[in-house]
């Protein structure tokens, strides 16, 4: 008898959640800018995923006789100084940039949640110590630290991504801590404690699911910034090795031919711009919608 009642309650809770989600999607659909953002993301992600099937040439395929040709029907974005087809290289590069940016954001999110939860939940000395560490990471110029870590680990794309995780968690951890601090004082936490739930269980089963929304929004927003940071470091020489199809590095190559062959640097940059714009539009829309003051 009780178990069926229990089920009833659980189902209605889930339904409420579904309804909430449906409402969010409904609001999202009403904003043309968000739709545009979603289209940009879908197109670029598809371009990256299906690059092996769409790209007319391989990522490092060269036609030396056809170097530095302007955009044409045969080469949509023109060719670079070694005769690589820039359109194909851009498609292949999206795979690398988007994939690694996603890995960086997920990696940072894990670190942020762990540190923020521990600090916010235990409070006191643990909190104080962790926040001082966070202060240091915030005060240290993150790009410089990332460069130094990447240089120390050895210059390649994966180390660059790892270095961005190592240096990028501080701001997010602050955010998580703040959210946890405010959740911790709520009645349901006290109720769970009264029932005798263990600290870890309260943290990850009860508090975290309630705190996850703002974290996901900030992660979406940071994906755009991460792509920019990653490409920027790659541009000044960290990360991609010679000849690789990576957007920041391709712009760096185009820099030498900027005045006479501007398309070499222009198209990879434009690609970065549209990917990041897509994520920022959706992130902005999400933030507006999840803001309860605007909601009803």
């Amino acid at each position: 008898m009780t178990s069926s009642l229990e089920k009833e309650r659980v189902r209605s809770h889930r339904e409420a959640q579904l309804e909430e989600l449906r409402f969010t999607l409904h609001l999202l659909r009403q904003s043309p800018l968000v739709i545009f953002g979603i289209v940009l993301i879908v197109v670029t992600v598809a371009a990256g995923v299906f690059a092996p099937f769409i790209a007319p040439y391989g990522p490092e395929e060269r036609q030396w006789a056809k170097s530095l040709q302007p955009p044409s029907l045969e080469h949509f974005f023109g060719t670079d100084e070694t005769g690589g087809d820039i359109f194909s290289r851009v498609l292949w590069a999206i795979r690398i940039d988007l994939g690694l940016a996603l890995a960086i954001v997920v990696g940072s999110l894990v670190v942020e949640i762990l540190i923020g939860c521990v600090a916010g939940y235990f409070g006191g000395k643990v909190d104080e110590a962790l926040m001082r560490v966070t202060d240091v990471f915030l005060a240290f110029p993150s790009l410089i630290l990332a460069m130094a870590v990447a240089a120390a680990l050895g210059r390649n794309l994966y180390n660059l991504a790892l270095s961005l995780v190592v240096t990028g968690w501080a701001g997010g951890a602050r955010l998580v801590r703040g959210v946890i601090l405010s959740e911790r004082e709520k009645l349901y936490v006290e109720a769970a404690r009264a029932v005798g739930a263990a600290r870890g269980r309260i943290m990850f089963r009860h508090v975290l699911p309630n705190a996850i929304y703002p974290l996901l929004v900030s992660a979406t927003l940071s994906l755009g910034g991460t792509i920019l940071g990653f490409a920027g470091l790659s541009f000044i020489g960290f990360g991609a090795g010679s000849g690789m199809a990576e957007l920041g590095y391709m712009i760096a190559l185009g820099r030498d031919y900027l005045y006479r062959f501007p398309w070499v640097a222009t198209f990879p940059g434009l690609t970065i711009f549209f990917i990041v714009l897509g994520f920022n539009l959706v992130g902005d829309g999400l933030r507006d919608i999840l803001d309860p003051r605007l909601r009803r």
Binding site: R132, V133, D135, V136, A139, F140, P141, S142, L143, I144, L145, M147, A148, A151, A152, G224, G225, L228, A231, G232, F235, I236, G237, F238, G248, I251, G254, R255, L258, Y259, P262, A265, T266, P268, G269, I272, F273, V276, L277, N280, L281, D284
Partner: protein, 343 residues
């Protein structure tokens, strides 16, 4: 709490932060990098290297090495940088700092001059064409790779304008090298130097050289501050006291600039302060694009050449600037909003 007590307390709180920063810098230069490299080159004979190791205590346990490192920092011995002819790091920082400071200050001015009016106009004309254009401008700023924007600006304002015989924006240096008579460097800040020496031509030239790099460095900050200004202005305009001011019959201009603006500035000041920190972080990339002879370009080059004493020097300087900027922001709060008690 008195202002002086507050400042003292904040300065004491800086100690653990700077301890952490030096610890990271130490780890980079002594654990990951080779500490001898800061004092030796490839041509240094073996016996001299041994001498350096003994002199600098590099054979001692690591915590003693850290003590020596901090002691040297305090005394002003920051090692030698391979990237600039093995010159002392402190000397190089002194030489490059004015260039970077002038650039970041100019960017900050651009942020204030462009972003705050844009944010106000955007908020007071919500959902009008001006608002849409502003939001688009802001959104593309956050989405654009700045180094790419820099290259595009070079292509248009430097190369194409020159090709067309139009007045173009110069790049690649801080002053025209054919400027005659050459500007004597007194403070290292060229805008200031030219004012002191009453050289309007040099001032104008230095200003022109600053425009593109400062805009590229500051563009991201401009967009962030515009968005912040817009949303906090909208928030304030919804308050009751604004309605009261309007119902008293005050002109809209006074309502906006006297009553709304001051309160809307509070969150904006935070963001401006934070963006000053990010300006320094962005300096390596922007300075590389424009070949700007500053700290950032030096640091980026140094890292590529694993010149760790340079990296540790740059990191410590930028951390110091960053925490100072934060302190100033917190003091500004109390100035703008008397309700905020320092403490």
């Amino acid at each position: 709490m008195k202002l002086r007590d507050y400042v003292v307390r904040r300065l004491i709180l800086l100690v653990p932060v700077m301890f952490g920063v030096t610890l990271i810098a130490f780890t980079l230069s002594h654990v990951i990098g080779d500490p001898v490299a800061a004092y030796a080159s490839e041509r240094t004979p073996e016996w001299q290297i041994k001498q350096i190791i003994l002199q600098k205590g590099l054979d001692k346990p690591i915590y003693i090495q850290y003590g020596i490192y901090v002691n040297d920092l305090v005394k002003g011995d920051w090692g030698y940088t391979r990237s600039v002819n093995d010159r002392p790091v402190t000397e190089v920082i002194k030489e490059f700092f004015p260039a970077t400071f002038e650039l970041t200050a100019m960017s900050l001015v651009m942020i204030l001059v462009i972003a705050i009016p844009l944010g106000i106009v955007s908020a007071t004309h919500k959902d009008k064409p001006v608002d849409h254009v502003t939001r688009l401008f802001a959104l593309s700023g956050v989405s654009m790779p700045v180094f790419w924007l820099g290259l595009l600006m070079l292509l248009v304002f430097y190369y194409h304008f020159q090709m067309l015989g139009l007045p173009n924006l110069p790049s690649g240096a801080r002053l025209d090298q054919f400027l005659y008579p050459p500007l004597k460097s007194i403070t290292g800040f060229y805008l200031l130097d030219s004012l002191i020496q009453l050289r309007p031509d040099a001032f104008f030239d230095a200003f022109l050289h600053l425009i593109m790099p400062a805009f590229v460095l500051g563009y991201h900050g401009v967009t962030v501050v515009t968005r912040m200004m817009r949303s906090s202005m909208l928030e304030v305009m919804r308050q009751d006291y604004i309605m009261l001011a309007r119902s008293k019959g005050l002109p809209e201009r006074i309502v906006i600039y006297r009553h709304a603006l001051k309160n809307a500035m509070i969150p904006t000041v935070t963001v401006v302060g934070l963006s000053f920190g990010s300006l320094l972080t962005g300096a390596p990339i922007t300075e590389t694009v424009f070949s700007w002879p500053g700290l950032g370009r030096w640091a980026a080059g140094a890292i590529l050449r694993t010149d760790f004493s340079a990296i540790s020097g740059f990191a410590i300087v930028s951390a110091l600037v960053y925490v100072t900027a934060n302190l100033i922001v917190d003091l500004l709060y109390a100035f703008i909003d008397p309700r905020i008690r320092l403490g």
